[in-house]
Symmetry: C2
Subunit: 365 residues, 2 copies
């Protein structure tokens, strides 16, 4: 279902957001700056996004009637996480209001569909992979592809959940049993990468492109720890090449909005796509304090049919996530010059939970 051709939405229009977490919160804040109302749809009362949005519908994602009522109040509908049920998104898509489109959501929700699409339709390199539905498939796959390899559930994985590394064939049974029972999986060849980098880019309603420079990401316990801009020891050519790969994928999806593409960079500079996220992304949070249009506003501009604006950072930034108890130290962090605090308003600092982030800024040298 194609999206309706929209003129630039005027201030005062309403942007619907499926999902009520921190990404929705920061999208709502950006939308308010541009004079838009926001309407959050999510099953939980309150929550990070609803706290700063004009309107909230609290209803289950499979409540079709609530979804219809919600969609009717919106001039455009977007989503803040890729695991929003396809059916929820379809109500908005059927009304011609969903940006990015349902195809982007379908592709990103399933690792098999995602990797197949990226390799075969967009023509962009991914690690070797095979669908596996049981341990026999998995054994065949690792024998064929070699070890080490990574086994992952096809759906609902995030922050390292739903995956296991296989270093020897003997690990296979334990690895398989650590995953949800009977979940369809894929086995991916392990990529001997030099580092993890990402591109956060937007495609406008008119097909225009904008990308921030290449971002270097460091993970801790499978959760993003820091994003650094500019990525150290990175040529402009590498950064441009990564952006081109992201644009190829976005063009093939007829994508509107911000999309993140995570890459492995090999020793020889080859870029292999690890995964895409059809939304604003944790590795783009540094944009809030870099002297350019931030990724949240960039997404809102794109889905509202506005000009994308400048994605060239004027300042250098290191973003560090505040996980669990890290959030307790914010008042001391607040004393450091050039330190910008962004908390998500979550009540409970559970272990491994993203509570906020800090952007440490310096003048470009």
């Amino acid at each position: 279902m194609p999206v309706k051709a929209l003129d630039a939405l005027p201030p005062g229009s309403t942007i619907g957001i499926l999902g009520g977490g921190q990404l929705g919160r920061m999208l709502a804040a950006a939308a308010a700056r541009l004079g838009f109302h926001t309407h959050i749809y999510c099953p939980d009362a309150g929550g990070p996004a609803a706290e700063v949005a004009g309107t909230q519908t609290q209803a289950a994602y499979d409540d079709l009637e609530a979804l219809h009522r919600f969609t009717k109040t919106c001039d455009v509908v977007t989503y803040e996480f890729e695991n929003v049920p396809a059916m929820s998104a379809r109500t908005a898509a059927n009304a011609g209001l969903l940006r990015p489109n349902a195809k982007a959501l379908d592709v990103a929700q399933d690792r098999l569909t995602e990797k197949t699409f990226i390799r075969d339709e967009a023509g962009v390199a991914v690690a070797d992979f095979r669908a596996v539905d049981n341990i026999h498939d998995a054994r065949r796959a690792v024998r064929h592809m070699g070890l080490p390899a990574v086994i992952k559930t096809r759906r609902f994985g995030y922050d390292g959940k739903g995956q296991a590394v296989i270093r020897a064939e003997a690990d296979l049974e334990t690895a398989f049993q650590s995953l949800p029972k009977d979940a369809p999986c894929i086995v991916e060849a392990f990529v001997p990468f030099r580092r993890e980098v990402s591109i956060v880019a937007a495609r406008g309603a008119d097909g225009s492109h904008a990308s921030y420079p290449l971002i270097e990401n460091v993970h801790k316990n499978h959760i993003l720890h820091t994003s650094t801009i500019p990525a150290p020891n990175t040529s402009a050519a590498l950064s441009a090449r990564a952006a081109e790969l992201a644009f190829k994928i976005m063009d093939k999806l007829d994508y509107i909005g911000v999309m993140a593409t995570e890459f492995f960079e090999l020793e020889d500079g080859t870029l292999i796509v690890n995964e895409i996220a059809p939304r604003v992304h944790n590795s783009g949070h540094w944009t809030q304090d870099a002297g350019c249009v931030d990724q949240f506003e960039l997404h809102i501009r794109a889905i509202a049919g506005w000009p994308l604006g400048s994605t060239v950072p004027l300042l250098d930034v290191v973003m560090t996530n505040l996980i669990g108890d890290d959030a307790n130290k914010v008042t001391s962090l607040a004393a450091l010059p050039g330190t910008f605090i962004h908390l998500y308003g979550k009540n409970e600092a559970r272990e491994g939970r993203k509570m906020g982030h800090v952007n440490q800024v310096k003048l470009k040298t």
Copy 2:
């Protein structure tokens, strides 16, 4: 009534804001970034601030019961405009929660009290002034002080409303009649200024000081048009001298929060205080995109007992207000690099109404 000694308020605390306009909106956005809840108190449904705040009490400013209920939900209460009735503020002040304190509000609400305080208690220069209650007083005042002079209502003036210039004694009657009937007034000597400048500064809960550099302001039809940072042709010494004058006033008021001080700069560099605003201020909006803690967050940090953080801008900025129909051109402004749009979510673009502002940024040279 002294404010309660508060430790640094932890994220999750609630900040109450009396008033629901654009300053409240931007304060609420800053508070959310630091993980605070906000509770807006104002007589109007919806409005710029309530749209982005977690909670709103819609009640009249003289509804003491509603004010009590409101105050009980808050860990600290602040105000976003100086004409909030003293009684409304007193409920929060009596609970020891009002920041800045009621004294600051009293002083700023009445031009006579304000100028007397600044001159006699803080020892900072203001233009010569006299209280006038009728045309006979006014005639005596201008004969004594000389012409030109300006007659202003003591209370409720803003954006040039409630004032008239007197160039000849013959103007006096017309001038007096243009003002609200029987309103107590003052006559001020006209200051032959070179330009208008302002200082936006904060005083922390521990008495610490922070100030942005001197800001150059240009008005159009008595409404702020542009604020430029750094102020052109301005020595660091002049900027520091202006900040010291602001700090003197704030110290005398035992002030906590952000205060703006507007000055006339004379040809010889003398600084004369025009007025103070016990709140964040239109001439400080450029701070949102300058690579330092912005004035809204600075105010929240101060009233929450947090460290004030850095007020040194890393970028140069020109802020331009969007008045009335100016707001219609935002989508074309959005295409310009380095242009940051801030709209207030007001439905109706009436003539002379502040609809938003634009910050035009460049790297410091």
